[in-house]
Each structure stands twice: as structure tokens, then as C-alpha cells.
Symmetry: C2
Subunit: 350 residues, 2 copies
């Protein structure tokens, strides 16, 4: 099989971890006789530095011509805490989501028994947690009309959702629940928000097409509590953009291994695969960042290409590396390995 | 001193826990020679059952004529999961907040060393956590224009904030930080939302008037993570209505003792004091609910009356009850005491 992959390494630790993911993809290509063609393109702070634009048209073009996008991370402290900065790296992320129609963000959160001691939660709370968040990614308050009025003394952000926007993400979420433990939890704020009431209406209607899936409705404030008190109860969580941002980040730390979490953003035109950890600028260039999230994102990409054996081969190699303690400092502070050492090990095991 | 107190016991366990708070207030009145005059009024599901309105005008009138409101809880499962129900108990809560101008919700979260084993977090994460959330309570997406359009296929909720709305809650938050550990964290989403950028602008400007207070800015997704990973870092958290709903509920479970958490909602016309735990219908009428949150809410009310010795007397009695194990099942499952037994003990110790 031949696939074209756009590589947007971005900022901070992005380039280092993406390099390991490519190393592993190349090992897969060799073993299974595939051809992966990579095209690098600029995104984020680095793209601002070079072109003045966090998501240049040239980059979007490369993405559109590819079968999938491998993404590193975006964000640099020099653009933080300046709410009035005209251009911010994050805008690049929002732009690529919108332009590529990446409406369905998928974040699996699993616990590794051997890493349970890393969790901030007590073992009896976290053990066995295995959930996936389906977050709507191109609508809601993120992309609604926003601005100032009354001489700049009032600001507003509008949140909007249509039935179609809800249906098209609810469908893959229901399908995922069906293929997993058959439970779907809609997280919303239907006791306050009209958009949430529309989400509930639509999901309730769709639920009848999935009689084998148990559907739960949880207010977002309660969900934020349940994620700590009893995360094991969750299977598939479905939610809108802003709540998904908060809940999926919350979910990402309960296992204590943020450095292992991958994500996929599926869209109409293409799909993007990205580690959850962000640009982590303090560690950039030090060869200490955990490459596993990027490597597992590459595995999700292979699933997307229907290369399931290949994806599972990566997952097996990752598990092996963790069990053997071939891991970066966030996971193994006794005897930490470098980013590239972990990448080499996983590629070799593949 | 003579004070008029409106008592809105509401639904679920509300009446039982409020009864204990009144018992303790009466003990204080006796000891310190004050007169507290209580006027009961209907609110919530019970008010819907009796009057069809979750917050009858008569109740609002009673509140307006009082020096403070002691509130139990609102909510009944028979109104849940029906997004199209025309009248919902929660509307009563939103209405009283708006009508009484209760713009400043204050929720202290403290850990009791003797209860640390109840926390879902590991001891090294939670030990010493001591924070307070200042949540804006009468603005934002809760009260913005909302509705449907395009033949009901699109729903919208508008979020709006003005400089004045932000300033009037930022001020008490800064004052609180000054009186505490001198750190204020603004939680927002300034990398995406225009309203958040206005919050940052306003808070940044005000920060110069409080040079002794260290000001931190945290995106809400990051805050949701930090609350689990490192809650000890927080002192005063300041945030808008929707983020405050999520973050304060998240904060309320990290100590493992939601049944102990009190809140105050301060306003232009009056102030309301309320346990954080909600109506907890499963426990209603069973005399098992923890009355401490309601009792500590009464203590916050005494602070509001400037009766600091009296308030601290209650806090001391509560601490004593916990240390002695005179506690309900959520805290003491070895040898649990009844709601009223705990109330009696604390009242007697006062
Ligand atoms: C960087 C930011 C705009 C983005 C978001 O809020 O969606 C990030 O937090 C994420 O979750 O990918
Ligand atoms: C009941 C609901 C409307 C309310 C809110 O969202 O404000 C509650 O969750 C709270 O925090 O007091």
C-alpha cells in the first residue's frame, strides 16, 4: 500500500516526537512492504516566525493532497499571556480543523497496570479505566460569531449547533460504543443551555437506532466530578467542543501518563493524528519527551488506513517498551531513557 | 443583634440538613444573645408541586425582606432528563440568582487531615490543598440570549460579559487573595474566546492595584488538569459562570468530602448561603445526609453578618465532631451517625 502523509511537526517537543513516530512508521513500511511518503509543512509558532501565518495556505494544500496528517504540537510561550497578540499559534490549529472539516476528535484513555502508581488517583479509583472521548471539533462557541460592542466594554461569543453537526459526530460515537462496551454518555448542560437541549434531542432520537447501546446523560459539572470519583463507569463520552476540551484534558491526566495518549481528528476531507500532550516547551530540544503518544497516534493513522495488523504491531511494541522500562523520565524516573532511544527500541521491536 | 433569615429548604435532603443548620444557629443565638428570625419559603421542585413555579414571587419577596438567605438544595429526578419540560427546578435557582443579583459565588475547598483517606486523590497530591473559587454567577452563557432557529434545526446560546460585570467580582476575589496566600488564578479560554480576552484585560488592569497579589492565568482545560495533578498550587481561583460551574464542582470532589463544603453567593441586595452537595434525592428523608455543609454555610452567613467569633465557634464545633468521629456515613462508614445526631452534637458543643 502507498500512502501520502503530511507531516506538521510544529513547535516545542513536536519535531522530536514526530521524528520517532516516523521512525516507527518506516519500520512498519519495511516489515509489511508499504510505502509511506512524507511531506513536511510548517505550522504553529514556527510557521509564524517564517511566514507570519500559523497555518500557511501552502501547508493546507499539502494536507489536502495527503491521505492523512501527522501532527506534532503547536504553541510557544512567547505568544502566551498576550491576549491582544494579533497572531497566535493556536489559530493555526483552529484553522486546520475548520479548513479540513475535522469535526470528530477521538481521544482514547486507557490505563496500563504497570503505570498505575503514576496516576494522581488512588488505585481503586483508576484501575481498569478505559474510555474514549468523542469531541465535536469544528462547531460551538469556538467558531461562533465573537467580538466586542458598546465601545469595547462588552465582549461576546456565540455558541451554535445544528442537528447535522450533532448527528455526524454522534454516529461514529454510537458505532464506537457498539464496538466497545456498549455505553455512551452524552455530556452537556441541558438544564441551562439551549444547544445542549438540542444535543439531547438528537442523541435521544438516534439512540433508538442503537438499542444495544446504553445511553446516559450527564451534566458537564457532574461529569467533571465523576471523572475523578469513578472514571471506570465511562465507555464512550460524546460531547460538544468546549466541554470536550475540558473533559478530555481532565481525562488525560487521571491515568498519570499523558505522554502516552494519542488522538485522531476525523474529517470530511482528511484525518489528522496528534499526541495529546501539547508542545511542552520546557522540554523542547532536550531529547527527554515521551514519544509514545506520537507513536500511538501513528498507530491510529494505520487503523484509519485499515492497516489493523500494522497498528496492533505498533501497540504491542509500545507495551513491550513500557513493560521493559524502556521509557522516558515521565514514566521511568529511576532509569530514564531518551526520546530517541525509546523510538529506536519500538522501531526495532516492530 | 437581630437578623431576619429567609429559609429555602428546597428539595431532597435540603430540609433535613437545613434543619440542623438552624439548630446550630439557635445554639449560637442563645450563647451570644442574638435573635435570628426565620421565614420559610418554597423553592424548587416542591414549589413547582405547590404553585407551578420553582421560585414563586412570594419567595422572592421573603428573600428581599431578609438579611440573608439560607438555602438547602434544588432538584428532583422526576424533572431530570426531560429537556423539553417547560418548568424545571433549576430555573428557580437561576431566577433567584438573577433577581437577587447574586453575582459572586464563593466556594472554599479545604482538606481535613483526618479525612484525607476519603479523597480520590493520592495523599501527596491533596494534602494541604486549600483554595477558594470565586465564580461569576449572573452573567455569561447562562443568561445570554438563547433559542432555536432555521425551523428548530439550529440552537444557540450567547455568552456575553461587560467590564463592569467582571470588575465587580474580580474585586472581592483580589481582596480575598490579599487576605489569604496572595495568589489569584484567572481561569479562562483567552486563546479562543473574546469574552475570556476581556476577562484577562480587566484582571490585568486591576492587578496593578494589588501589587502584593501574584496573578496567574490558566486556560480552563489546563485548570481542569491542574486541579487533579497539583491542587495545592491554587489559592483564589477567579472565573466566569460556566467554567466556574465545572471547575468548582471538580474542586469539590478532590478532598473526598463534598458533604462538608459550604458556599456563599453574594449580591447587591442580599446574600445566599448554600451547601455545595445538591439535593441528593436517593438519601432524602433517611436522616443519613451530612449536615456539615449546611452548618458551615450558616457559619459563612455569620461571617457575612460580621459575627466572626460566632462563625468560628461553629467551625470549631464542626472540627471537633469530625475529629471525634461524630459523622455521617459519607465520612464515617465504620460507625456512622444520623444527620440529626451530628446536628445535635455540633449544636451542643457550641
Ligand atoms: C490550543 C487550543 C485552541 C486547543 C483547543 O482548545 O481546542 C487545545 O486545547 C486542544 O484541546 O487541542
Ligand atoms: C442546577 C444548575 C443550574 C446549577 C448551575 O449550573 O449553576 C448548579 O450546577 C450549581 O452549580 O449551582
Amino acid at each position: 500500500m502507498k500512502k501520502k502523509i503530511a507531516v506538521l511537526s510544529g513547535d516545542g517537543i513536536g519535531p522530536e516526537v514526530v521524528a520517532q513516530a516516523i521512525k516507527v512508521l518506516n519500520a512498519i513500511a519495511g516489515k509489511y512492504n508499504h510505502t509511506f511518503e512524507y511531506t513536511e509543512a510548517l505550522a504553529g509558532a514556527i510557521a509564524i516566525d517564517v511566514t507570519g501565518n500559523p497555518m500557511p495556505d501552502e501547508t493546507l494544500k499539502v494536507c489536502l493532497e495527503s491521505d492523512a496528517i501527522l501532527f506534532g504540537a503547536i504553541g510557544d510561550p512567547k505568544y502566551d499571556n498576550d491576549p491582544n497578540a494579533k497572531v497566535r499559534p493556536e489559530q493555526g490549529l483552529l484553522k486546520i480543523r475548520k479548513e479540513m472539516g475535522l469535526f470528530c476528535n477521538i481521544r482514547p484513555v486507557t490505563t496500563y497496570d504497570s503505570l498505575i502508581d503514576k496516576s494522581p488517583l488512588k488505585e481503586d479509583r483508576i484501575k481498569g479505566a478505559d474510555l474514549v472521548v468523542y469531541r465535536e471539533l469544528t462547531g460551538g462557541i469556538y467558531f461562533g460569531e465573537k467580538g466586542r460592542k458598546n465601545n469595547d466594554t462588552t465582549a461576546y461569543d456565540n455558541c451554535e449547533y445544528s442537528v447535522i453537526e450533532i448527528e455526524r459526530i454522534a454516529k461514529p460515537a454510537f458505532e464506537a460504543a457498539r464496538a466497545r462496551r456498549k455505553k455512551l454518555t452524552l455530556v452537556d448542560k441541558a438544564n441551562v443551555l439551549e444547544t445542549s437541549r438540542l444535543w439531547r434531542d438528537v442523541v435521544k432520537k438516534m439512540a433508538s437506532e442503537y438499542p444495544d447501546v446504553e445511553v446516559d446523560y450527564l451534566f458537564v459539572d457532574n461529569a467533571a466530578m465523576q471523572m475523578i470519583v469513578n472514571p471506570v463507569q465511562f465507555d464512550v463520552i460524546l460531547t460538544e467542543n468546549m466541554f470536550g476540551d475540558i473533559i478530555s484534558d481532565e481525562a488525560s491526566v487521571i491515568t498519570g501518563s499523558l505522554g502516552l495518549l494519542a488522538s485522531a481528528s476525523m474529517g470530511a476531507k482528511t484525518a489528522m493524528f496528534e499526541p495529546c500532550h501539547g508542545s511542552y516547551p520546557q522540554a523542547a530540544g532536550k531529547n527527554v519527551a515521551n514519544p509514545v503518544a506520537a507513536i500511538l497516534s501513528a498507530a491510529m493513522m494505520l487503523d484509519h488506513f485499515q492497516l489493523f495488523d500494522e497498528a496492533n504491531c505498533i501497540r504491542k511494541a509500545v507495551k513491550k517498551s513500557i513493560d521493559e522500562g524502556i521509557a522516558t523520565v515521565d514514566i521511568n524516573n529511576q532509569n530514564p531513557k531518551n526520546t530517541s532511544t525509546v523510538g529506536d527500541y519500538i522501531a526495532k521491536f516492530v
